[in-house]
Point group: C2
Chain length 347, copies 2
Amino acid sequence: MIIAVDVDGGDYAPKEIIKGALKAAQEYKIGLILLGKKEVIHVHAGHYLKKLPIEIVHCPQTVTFNEHAVEAIKGKPKSAIVIGTSLVKQGKADAFISAGNTGAVLAAAFFILGKIEGVERPALGAIITTRPHIPSLLIDAGANAECRPNHLDEFAHLGNIYAKQVLGLENPRIGLLNNGEEEAKGTKLTLETHQLLKKSKLNFIGNIEGHDISLNKADVIVTDGFTGNIVLKTLEGLGDALLKVRKVGHAIDSAAHLRGRALLADVGLGSMVKGMDFEECGGACLLGVKGTIIVAHGRSHARAIKNAIGLAKRTAEKGVDKLIAEDIKSRTKAGTEGDPKNVNTPV
Amino acid sequence: MIIAVDVDGGDYAPKEIIKGALKAAQEYKIGLILLGKKEVIHVHAGHYLKKLPIEIVHCPQTVTFNEHAVEAIKGKPKSAIVIGTSLVKQGKADAFISAGNTGAVLAAAFFILGKIEGVERPALGAIITTRPHIPSLLIDAGANAECRPNHLDEFAHLGNIYAKQVLGLENPRIGLLNNGEEEAKGTKLTLETHQLLKKSKLNFIGNIEGHDISLNKADVIVTDGFTGNIVLKTLEGLGDALLKVRKVGHAIDSAAHLRGRALLADVGLGSMVKGMDFEECGGACLLGVKGTIIVAHGRSHARAIKNAIGLAKRTAEKGVDKLIAEDIKSRTKAGTEGDPKNVNTPV
């Protein structure tokens, strides 16, 4: 298993990215391809380069945070994002992770890897854990701001496979995020999506509301990428705020610190905060493209990168992209064989 | 100051509603009109009826949670929602609060009180407090699921006045909730709204993201009612979850309970949880109608109702509805007098 890592993107690149990647190589027993400035990687990776199965690919161009995604990809063929994605395409890496410009990572995946046949809109699936040890998948976490009902139906199917494989669930409960539980409530988008999901063979449990997220009412939370982005970042922000008050508490009084750790563990708050902490899950997976691409958070420190690499490994091992392709084929086949429930909505 | 209270709506009606109303009457020195079943009110309010300035208005009809809003209002003229709203219209009550069917409360407000001239879409303004003691206003918290840019521009102006009056802010920072900070990011709705807000005379600070909510980056968070509903309920759900883990901790070990309270206070978590608890703010205010209407949460217990009545009192005292009408007039006037910045977007 070889994971390609962009050490050139993210707020704490390259140092924290390299640190996280080295930890991941040791912990998960994987090979690494580090993409970035050769000399910088040598400085930070140091003697590990000889001890671990690490290859360095020098990438002289850098895509910055604010660059226009498509222009960046077209104009910077020697950037870590373009080269890393190409390595996946060529089969030289099993997955690529980047904490750089998300739009550029998505654009590179679309152009270089391409969409799986039958997928119109690849989507970001983000694992969230508001309850200790009980993860759920939010899809789309931000790849498609404006969506149509058939896109949300597609996200549900992509999420279903990912939840089965990566969360290890047999029959994931699919919920549609809405402003009311009732079938008759919602926007044009959610009303129509509800009907599509009802007709699908998924384990669709109906509409769920914002407060159901932390109740883990659904395993897969289906929403458009605008709402998904805002929900994910709202949760992250609260996780940050909770971590901060914990840290302030610690600083005030070191006796309180020790009492605090014990108590937070007692009441389950420690792991709750951990769950709301984006560094814990590491990154979101781009589902629907031919290959494994993990988008790590821009603010990733070493721990987040290590966890994102772990996620990349699990996703690639399961061959999630191939399973998605098979699922679409079988649904299309069933559809043409006369089961109208399985026909995809026309684009 | 007389507040009309629907004791017939909400999950814990009538007992908890009456209990909260009685507390509010004592604490805020206000008069009450309790609307519901006469005999039931007598049972729960008991001897307070003689001690406090309370009037009872018997309402033989009940609007249930799942009823179609407009049909309920038209078919049940003797319900607490219709009679309570009419009391505000007639000037017999300064405000009306209800924890009943939200749609029906909004419909009654539209039909009976009417919209303020110049307002196309009244919106729900909800006070949220993710940081201890630092509230911000989320608008629209759920009245309008589908919106156009001029509606969001309107919400910003409504929220601006409410934040000035009820949060006591001189020059509220208006932020547009979006899936990216950059001006060029967003959906068609947020991109166009951004341009309208830039042209306004508001203190528009630009786009804010989900994580900025708990950073209190903006005083007024402008969004459509679909996103607003989901964000509000996501925050509420987390508040509930935090309260729950605290309670579990307490149950495990009463010594830990005492240590726990001290510690949570030390680190600021106690007040943070309090801030995320919807009962603390009590309810959302419907802005843009002629009169003061507070929508309390369906799950309101006595404390939430008491706080919702407190909010109703503050809102009515400030005459927020009249200030909104004046603001629209002055902006329209400025517009016709040649300042193109102040012209409202045509409907």
